[in-house]
Amino acid sequence: MYTTDQYEGMLAETVTLQGANGDTINAYYARPLGAGPYPGVVLIHHLPGWDELYREFTRKFAHHGYLAISPNLYSRDGHGTPEDVAAKVRAGGGVPDSQMVGDVQGSLNFLTSMANCTGKVGVMGTCSGGRHTVICASKIDGFTAAADLWGGRVVMGQETLNEKNPVAPIDMTPDLKVPLLGLFGGDDGAPSPPEVAQHEAALKAAGKEYEFHTYPGAGHGFFYYDRAAYRQEQAVDGWNKLFAFFAKHLGS
């Protein structure tokens, strides 16, 4: 545990890595200054983009003793303000799931190539990043734990499947490779409580290790202090649960 007489330092900067199809994408990498070794975490950003909030989340993980990286899933869509780029991606229906998986795999490879990485790496995301986390936790070998924060469209009707999103993440449950934490708002429309219950039932049926928490009085995005969705008590408890979960499975 950190005490006020200890040294603490951090390096946080943009880097590049090889993502899907060997494409070079940029990413934000924050790490403690020290020999470590440290566990890692890949943060998958939300629909509003690779933005300041995700830089803060990434540094928060570094502050807590992780090598943390947030890949820019929108790298290929051009550069500008995070919002302008995200608007462009929104207009095109989002990024393909297969491309996202490749970029997250590349991010995992980046962390495990670090001499001061323990080799234990978690993956987490909020909103569309939560959905992406469920996919990556099922498709990618090498993660140790995963956290889905209010990811919508884990449960998807057949009619909503398309070329970019060909398989509903809930249908990947039998392939889930790691323990899964889920944090949800009880007032969220998507994922709605029935959809969360459906996901939980699938995890139980498949014998998977999971831990789900639904917060009353909170909706979608309740960690976002810059939005009306922010709920102080639920957000702080959520962060505590997230760090406790990763500490249990990754060590820190």
Binding site: L47, P48, D77, G78, H79, G80, T81, E83, D84, V85, A86, A87, K88, R90, A91, G92, G93, G94, C127, S128, R131, W150, G152, R153, T160, N165, D188, G189, A190, P191, G219, H220, G221, R227, A228, A229
Partner: protein
Amino acid sequence: MCTMIVHNAKIDGMGKGIEGWFDLKEANVSYDHPFHVRLEHALNIDFVNEAEGPGARVAVELTPESARELAKTILATLEEADAGGWVEPTDPAKINKTVPWTVKS
């Protein structure tokens, strides 16, 4: 949640962004998370020129009620213009471009 509800329209005209007027080529209309208006979902319209990069964008975020009112108002305006004989088919090549006023007084 991310609804991923979006429809795209090809358009012709001009829009005023933060760096001034530019040619508009597309309007991307979504019902999804907005960036600024304090709603979980909004009717978002991005008037853009994709060929000029993500920064060539004029954005609005509306409540669904406002968006419906706007759509009605647009159609009512065009109906009146049609009735008055004002509307002719537009040749996009002939849209005059605004010449910016550069003389500083």
